[in-house]
Amino acid sequence: MSDTFLIAGAWISAGLTIFLFSFLYKDNPFFKVAEHLYLGAGMGWWFQVYLYGVLKPKVWIPLMNHDWMVIIPALLGLSLITQFIPKISWVSRYGFTFLMGYGSGLAIPAYLATDFINQIGGTIQPFANLAGMPAFALFNAILVAVGVICVLIYFFFSVEHKGAIKKASNVGIYFLMIYFGAAFGNTVMARFSLLYGRFDTLYTFSASKYLYATQFILVGMIVYFIAHALMNRGKKETEPAH
């Protein structure tokens, strides 16, 4: 791809990034434009993925090769679109019920095995090696078991939380707080990682190779905000006092 396209791409990329970041200072038309572009571009991306990744190879090409069985799922899929026509929106139930039935049937054994039985097994399993366990490992296993039971008691709302149940439930809250604290700490890293990615790109596009795209666009935004502030101050001064 030619240098012109790369430089143009750098300017567009840096511009869109800085427009979106400009919301941090104040809402402005550049941000709104970028926001709406994102909406459209996101849908455009998904559209082309579904078109070229699924509909063309799995519906169009089989139909051209006279594989008529794909008509059934294609009709079920098209039935979903009748949702927008109130008179025949009931037709979309055929597509939805197929999706719901299939999804529900797959979900039951999967969740039962992985997130229910295996998790209970994982809590009990360390105690199978009780004899050969170091003291710290035994302490950890007991802590996990006590924690799981207390958290489940906290979420059990069919019984009133009083007395021993309330005490166990309070212990469960502490375990949940540790989990949420760990999740928050990691969330900070996750979000900063995303920000690093964008700043790294802006830094790359600040090079002379890209004609200092980041600098020019940033200065342009600052000039816009200053001009906007001056114009608004001028407007406020010319308004008659009430």
């Binding site: 999967a110 097994g121 990691n186 690093y196």
Partner: protein, 274 residues
């Protein structure tokens, strides 16, 4: 006097905080601190060891299920694992269930295989995006080609040398799922637990604490968490990349957040007793 100053400090316009964060992070990118993680976490080490012990020629499924929003954390992980796999002469089949990943996958594999002189079709293959992951994961248990009959270019998948001897999960030595979504859970539920396929995961830092139960029960053989996991894996394969430079840049930002939380709470306590 002190009371007014502390109140002003607590009520500071948040845009100053935004500016402070931007300066700290951008400054660290322009002038790296050059720090590296002192210790490799157990889960990342387990992930590395498992892949390292696979015999050459083993077939590995690389499920790259992230989009541009999570790519700064997950793309370095994917690059590090791909480099490790190619260095150890493993055969790689790339799949994705995230629509936003297709572009990222093509860009990654336009760079990494060339470093190890790996050829498309012979050493690795990329399969097209599939919208319904659960359907596809259950399908691959009986016949991989029931869903993936063609690769991303429309070539017959069975004819690719890299796919020789691969029919279903029985012929897959490992699945590495790098995802910013629930994809890892589905791989464990619909492939790992049901068919005994080993699964290693690379996840965002947000979801990392939630995978402890899977690790403890060995439903996951290893886990890389966020940019730190990427940096650790890059250190293990001795090829620093965006993970290493990223975690270095994040150092000051993290310390800034910790300091802000502590300062605000100390200010509140002082105000309470003034």
């Amino acid at each position: 006097m002190l009371k007014e100053k502390l109140n002003a400090l607590l009520k500071i316009d948040r845009r100053w905080i935004f500016l402070g964060l931007a300066v700290v992070l951008f400054g660290a990118i322009m002038r790296p601190l050059g720090l590296i993680n002192k210790k490799i976490s157990r889960d990342t080490q387990n992930a590395y060891d498992f892949i390292d012990k696979l015999p050459a020629g083993s077939f590995v499924i690389l499920s790259l299920d992230y989009d541009p929003a999570t790519s700064p954390e997950l793309n370095p992980q994917a690059m590090a694992v791909a480099r490790h796999a190619f260095r150890n002469n493993l055969r790689v089949g790339v799949v994705t269930y995230a629509a936003g990943a297709t572009g990222l996958i093509e860009q990654l594999f336009s760079v990494v295989p060339a470093e190890f002189k790996k050829e498309y079709g012979k050493d690795y293959a990329i399969f097209p995006y599939q919208p319904n992951a659960i359907a596809t994961l259950t399908q691959m248990a009986s016949d991989f080609y029931g869903i993936y009959d063609k690769d991303k270019d429309g070539k017959d998948a069975r004819s690719l040398p890299v796919m020789r001897g691969v029919k279903n999960y029985k012929n897959v030595s490992l699945v590495v799922c790098i995802a910013g979504t629930i994809m890892v859970d589905w791989w464990v539920q619909y492939a790992g637990d049901k068919y005994g396929v080993p699964v290693i995961a690379g996840v965002t830092a947000i979801t990392q604490p939630g995978y402890g139960p899977y690790l403890q029960k060995k439903q996951l053989k290893g886990l890389m968490g966020g940019m730190k996991g990427a940096a650790e894996y890059e250190h293990l394969i001795q090829t620093p990349g965006k993970g290493t430079s990223g975690i270095d840049a994040l150092s000051l930002a993290h310390v800034m957040v910790a300091a802000l939380i502590i300062i605000s709470n100390i200010a509140i306590i002082i105000l309470k007793y003034l």
